[in-house]
Symmetry: C2
Subunit: 249 residues, 2 copies
DNA sequence: GAGTTTTAAATTGTCAAACAAATCCCCCTC
DNA sequence: GAGGGGGATTTGTTTGACAATTTAAAACTC
């Protein structure tokens, strides 16, 4: 007979947080607006102060509000910026990878697809500083650095490339994918030959970017992706073999 | 004289939440693991139960844990899925748009870039059901529906297209962009001629998808994007003009 | 009167204790 | 053996109080 079973499953804090979020989304609360004090919110919503606090903490966890103590303190609506958006994208993508519900092939495909998509924009808009920075990273990759540093440089290389596209939303999203794929890359043991191959293709990629030749960039990216995927697969096989050996001991 | 000013700025709840998050990221806590009870956590961290609760609520707000009441209840690490990841991407992208720190042109460019990127994948992998669903949406768009319904159908159209790419990470990210752009689209007043133009291009897009002709899809997408951008710009101009009129009254 | 110091007020942060609500498990009854 | 009831466990919510922090006004000194 009752009309609802699951709608009641959410706590008071959750409901209030959602209500305040609505107020932000539809404009009743604007950036840098101050929310009423905790006491007043409690009175207004008809709940206790801890419940209101719970709601505020939830919003703070989502970077929707920031809190300042003291007189004339309070809770203020945060103007979210690209930096924070990128961090949140990254946090979500990282969790997806950590939870293991992700197919490495799908992740690699996503990276390749996104990089290919931004290649034309980067080719058009790349700045001299970015070309120089990419060259520096290649030089670093050709030197004798640890696997970890090599991988980190690889990540930086792609981030610079993405930034060259000059589209903040795309940058934020792609950065999250590149960041998320790093744990996979970190499994790889780079042999000298691998490094040479990768650095050589990075050089080709840089040349294509310099020449503003997007199709050539995409060709190199595809090639590079195939190579990286094969290395990751090798590393995974080796890892599994090692685990089996340990397991049989 | 003190060595630190900002590191202390974070509350106990924030610190504990961060600590637990670390435990999840580096594997000490796996999916579906149960956290110790609030009491025990409070004892272990040397704080009170409300402080622990604050930390848990923060984590819950980020969908990192879920809570069940009762005996054998408690807080459990959530295995994040594609659905939730998409929701979080959407929430972030929506906030970016709402806060106004976004350039409509950059948003449109991001959408076009991402759709162009997924076009080859969709062309290769589209299923008959998806072709049929797209056809249905076009039929809806050709009928006399409200501006709002027309826009909603437009959004669904692109979501189906994105899903056809069969890459969950790309789907989640693109869905967030498509969702974020909807408020802009909702400003448009669609004249009959506009709708015909859009529906006709959707038909061309569907034909290209059916023929698995990705380059043709990209051409249509670019064309469609230019047209949509012009409509949005018109709507914005009209809106500004209206506001100026009201302001001078 | 100007500048500095002190004090007070407002606000969030933290804690403590208790009870309510939900859920599960065991036991008891039939 | 099956079903229901009660107790135990855990989170949800409230009340109350005090601490920490920041602002701003007030008072005090020069």
């Amino acid at each position: 007979m009752s009309e609802a079973q699951e709608p009641q499953a959410q706590s008071v804090g959750h409901q209030i947080a959602e209500e305040i979020r609505e107020m932000i989304v539809d404009g009743r609360l604007g950036a840098d607006d101050r929310l009423p004090g905790e006491q007043e919110l409690a009175t207004r919503f008809g709940v206790s102060r801890p419940s209101v606090r719970e709601a505020l903490k939830r919003l703070a966890a989502q970077n929707l509000i920031r809190t300042r103590r003291g007189a004339s303190g309070g809770n203020f609506v945060t103007r979210i910026g690209w930096q924070q958006a990128r961090e949140q994208f990254e946090a979500t993508a990282t969790m997806l990878v950590v939870m293991g519900d992700i197919d490495p092939d799908a992740l690699a495909e996503a990276r390749l697809t996104l990089l290919s998509a931004i290649a034309p924009l980067a080719a058009e808009r790349r700045l001299p500083e970015e070309l120089a920075a990419l060259k520096d990273e290649i030089a670093l990759q050709e030197s004798k650095v640890s696997d970890e540093d090599f991988c980190a440089s690889d990540v930086r290389f792609y981030r610079i490339l993405v930034e060259a596209g000059r589209n903040p939303l795309l940058s934020a999203q792609m950065a999250s994918v590149i960041e998320a794929i790093q744990p996979l890359l970190n499994m790889i043991i780079y042999r000298a030959r691998d490094r040479d191959t990768i650095a050589a293709r990075h050089t080709k990629l840089l040349a294509a970017l310099n020449a503003q030749d997007a199709p050539a960039m995409i060709t190199v990216l595809r090639d590079l992706n195939d190579y990286t995927v094969s290395l990751v697969r090798e590393a995974q096989d080796a890892r599994e073999a090692r685990q089996n050996t340990q397991g049989s001991n």
